[in-house]
Point group: C2
Chain length 283, copies 2
């Protein structure tokens, strides 16, 4: 990786051009470095203000994701509500009424961590919360040796739970809307990541009740529908800059050491949660 990057930087310098910014690298990434996301792993959540798309992580939370796919197939969340927006923490949504009652006895899961996978790619940088942090598949992850887990970066989506660890079944979901609450890592099941429309969730008015819950029903945002992209006509086709691609590696390095003109001092380090995974609409 380092050799590739030095070569790339050297080429840039020899041409006399300004160093590439992270955005330049993403814009110039070849088609082979992008991968179309599987519509069977994408949730399409329609809100009055627009559409939020969530990529699911069945490799990390197989039971919770399977249950969530069942719920989406049954249109469980249609007519539900965003019930909570706590500043610099999470936005949360769920269903109420008879639908919620019907799922209340469903068992939950505690898919907090798993054996470390060969596909885990650690960053060289120190992480405040884990021995290593990096990426695995399409998600930010961390490892402490033999174990591995998804981490609570901005936009990550998890299954709310009760006090009992294995009580989250996917009927109550949350998305991180601020500084990564990494103390939640390995305490709750992360099952995916918002890949489009996060700004619709992050810009919601904050709830004035405890933990950011809305105190009046009228303050909640209606969920028009939640369905799998594979079951949604005209769902957008999204592509991810493959985290195992050379372009992604160059992008990470450019974010670690910003050399575009504005920067006076490259940081020399990067936090895993400061590396948004680039997503675009398929051309």
């Amino acid at each position: 990786m380092r050799r590739h990057l030095f070569a790339l930087l050297a080429t840039t310098l020899c041409l006399g051009a300004a160093p590439l910014s992270p955005a330049d690298i993403v814009a110039g990434a070849p088609a082979a470095d992008w991968r179309t996301l599987d519509p069977a792993n994408l949730l399409v959540m329609r809100l009055p203000a627009g559409t939020v798309i969530i990529e699911l992580a069945p490799d990390f939370a197989p039971h919770t994701v399977a249950n969530l796919k069942r719920l989406a197939h049954a249109h469980y969340f249609d007519g539900g509500w965003i019930v909570r927006a706590q500043d610099n923490y999470v936005v949360q949504w769920s269903q109420d009424g008879p639908k919620a009652k019907a799922e209340a006895s469903h068992p939950g899961y505690a898919e907090f961590e798993q054996p470390r996978r060969a596909s885990f790619r650690p960053l060289p940088d120190a992480d405040a919360y884990a021995r290593q942090a990096g990426f695995d598949g399409d998600f930010p992850a961390a490892s402490g040796g033999a174990r591995e887990w998804l981490v609570h970066c901005y936009g990550m989506v998890g299954a709310g739970r009760d006090v009992a660890p294995a009580s989250g079944s996917g009927v109550e979901l949350y998305a991180v809307n601020g500084q990564a609450p990494r103390h939640l890592d390995r305490n709750i099941t992360l099952l995916g990541r918002v890949v489009s429309g996060m700004e619709l969730l992050s810009s919601l008015p904050r709830g004035s009740g405890a933990l950011g819950f809305y105190e009046k029903p009228a303050q909640r945002t209606r969920i028009l529908s939640v369905a799998l992209a594979s079951e949604t006509p005209h769902a957008p086709r999204l592509q991810l800059l493959r985290p195992d691609s050379a372009s992604f590696q160059a992008y990470v390095e450019a974010r670690r050491n910003r050399r575009d003109a504005w920067f006076a001092r490259p940081a020399g380090h990067i936090d895993v949660c400061n590396i948004p995974l680039p997503v675009r609409t398929a051309k």
Copy 2:
């Protein structure tokens, strides 16, 4: 600090009560652990939706803060605009028209770091971006040995600048609205922190232009006024949980290792930007 905390935990255990949550510790902090913030160091920004209050950091950015106080005294920002809201990055505001023109030739400053102060209190935890991170005075800070600087946590406020490092004078301000963009540390002047009303800035609709700038004037939010609290009738009196107090130390420890009932696994670590500085309205 550790001895104090163990004593506190032991007391809790002996009483058979549940361990204190961070919120419990803040709620129970004695009056002596709170300090009323100096109204001469508070900016009161009135927006149509409510009031944002910013604590200034003259110890860290003396020239920029002095200039900003001059601007506030002259009501420079009254009638200005929030011109930018970039998701998971910053909200930015400024003035336009003749007022902006009159300040255009004012010299800027590059108050990015300073000699390390004796009052810097490092956390024991690793930091991804600096040798040490912790608190100094009322602000999150980091140090790399002999130098010290404020860090870009959620809610921190800085002076926007041009490509020239010393081009920020305080006429263009920004606040961090997402994951701490620590790569900006030591690249731009931080001059304070939102201590009340951050949710009014973070919930603004994101701008659809490049870098989150609003593309149409009508999308911007009007700034009704910006004035020093010391020059504002009926400005709220705010108190900060003193970062050098025993209560704050217990609060940090409780955030590092959440032992309230819901948590299955205390993190054992904390990131400086995951320790919001508790502020309340004076009783």
